[in-house]
């Protein structure tokens, strides 16, 4: 593994822009380890050093934006990319308790895409894969097509919660449309449900929230935000440790607001531009030179360390 060197011949300057952008979004408590020109490991610790997963910690893996059904130039083999990630997950020295998938399971909400995704996800050697819907999963019949394959609790709702390893997990659907011309939202019904759900959780319990679109506004002209995220954040603010895991923007960005740390994840399908990237007017798939794609796709391993506010995160590209 070579050390990152900005002067390295053949270094892609766009990568440097991405890194500076990431630095701008990163909180002070975060350390990036960069190897081979890509952010390879990220430790979120108060001491400013990367943390290895403690032996008795709850660890789980986040994957996102698999876009099963996509077959354009930016990645003609998204199933191959997912299987590559699955091999990485199955090879982890400490087996994760479960996997979360933060949305855009499919590309076009087609039944065959959901079916294929469910079939391939079953190759991950964990007890369960918890999914939430992205806007690509709710295209033709709202969330109903998705729920036929991924109904978490079997009650026809696309939001849910569960407790594991002393952590309260909440899965949300923030790709609902209520008002023309605005960003997608959670909606009143879900906000009320969230309030009721959190009423039974002690303030010291670590909370992990899954939501496809970031719960903070990254770039409104591209819809990279949730219209009513302020209401959800207000409900989460009283808790001592809140980690929000998002997908949607196909790159790692993060923000810390008090006790709430928000992290977006890499995709397993294709890269997107950096927020509002100059010269690119829209958030469409970015085709990168052969050999570069695997560096921009990846998985994230998370560990909940008792007594720590922050989860330990390791973002690993498929190839690096």
């Amino acid at each position: 593994m070579s050390t990152y060197d900005p002067a390295e011949p053949g270094h892609n300057p766009a990568r440097r822009q991405v890194l500076s952008c990431l630095a701008a979004w990163s909180g002070a408590a975060v350390v990036w380890t960069v190897a081979g020109g890509v952010p390879h490991a990220l430790g979120a610790t108060t001491a400013g050093t990367p943390t290895a997963a403690a032996k008795n910690a709850l660890t789980f893996v986040q994957i996102s934006d698999t876009h099963i059904g996509f077959r354009k130039e930016a990645n003609p083999d998204v199933i191959g990319s997912l299987r590559h990630a699955i091999a990485d997950i199955n090879a982890l020295s400490q087996a994760p308790a479960f996997v979360v998938h933060t949305g855009d399971v499919s590309h076009l909400s087609k039944p065959e895409e959901f079916g294929k995704a469910r079939e391939v996800l079953q190759e991950i050697r964990v007890d369960r894969v918890h999914t939430i819907p992205g806007e690509h999963d709710t295209i033709d019949e709202g969330v109903n097509g998705y729920l036929k394959y991924f109904d978490h609790d079997g009650n026809g709702k696309s939001w849910y919660s569960f407790d594991q390893g002393g952590v309260h997990f909440i899965g949300l659907n923030n790709v609902l449309n209520f008002k023309m011309g605005t960003m997608a939202a959670l909606g009143d019904e879900q906000i009320i449900w969230m309030k009721t759900d959190l009423a039974h959780v002690s303030r010291s319990t670590p909370i992990v929230v899954l939501a496809h679109i970031p719960l903070w506004t990254i770039w409104e002209p591209w819809g990279w935000g949730t219209a009513d995220s302020a209401q959800a954040m207000a409900l989460l603010r009283p808790f001592g440790s809140v980690t929000v895991l998002n997908g949607h923007i196909h790159q790692v960005l993060q923000k810390v607001e008090g006790n709430i740390a928000l992290h977006t994840a890499m995709s397993l399908a294709y890269p997107l531009p950096t927020p509002g990237q100059a010269g690119i007017g829209e958030p469409g798939p970015v085709t990168v030179p052969a050999g570069e794609l695997g560096k921009l796709l990846g998985t994230r391993q998370l560990s909940v360390v008792r007594g720590r506010h922050e989860l330990a995160l390791i973002d690993t590209p498929l190839a690096g």
Partner: protein, 124 residues
């Protein structure tokens, strides 16, 4: 009697159809039929770079609009009043809708609700 009557009226029509088939085998066919029954005026719109282009348009009643998705990302054409709604449109997929009556029809892409457009239907 009625048999003879109908044959007389049909004969010139048949000739016309035959002419249309001969001359209109390729590209001119719609023009020839236009003389008998004017076809609906048509307008083509693009969905490109996460925007409807043009975003706003004024047409006469009876006009058919065809939207074509030029992006690699799926989009929809979904009216606010639910009077028309496409399925998810993949790259180069098309959606057509004929606007029969006057009015203002605003629409969005439900995948990207920040994408908006409006069709004004006015007698001209």
């Amino acid at each position: 009697m009625s048999h003879a009557f109908s044959r007389n009226t049909i004969r010139p029509f048949r000739a016309c159809v035959a002419l249309a088939l001969v001359f209109g085998a390729g590209f001119v066919m719609p023009t020839i039929f236009a003389a008998a029954a004017p076809p609906a005026p048509t307008v083509d719109l693009n969905i490109a770079k996460f925007a409807f282009a043009p975003k706003e348009i004024t047409i006469a009643p009876g006009t058919k609009i065809t939207w074509t998705n030029r992006d690699e990302t799926p989009h929809t054409v979904t009216s606010n009043d639910k009077s028309f709604a496409s399925k998810g449109l993949d790259t180069d997929d098309k959606f057509e809708h004929t606007f029969a009556s006057e009015g203002d029809f605003s629409y969005i892409c439900t995948v990207h609700p920040f994408m908006t457009g409006v069709v004004h239907v006015r007698k001209q």
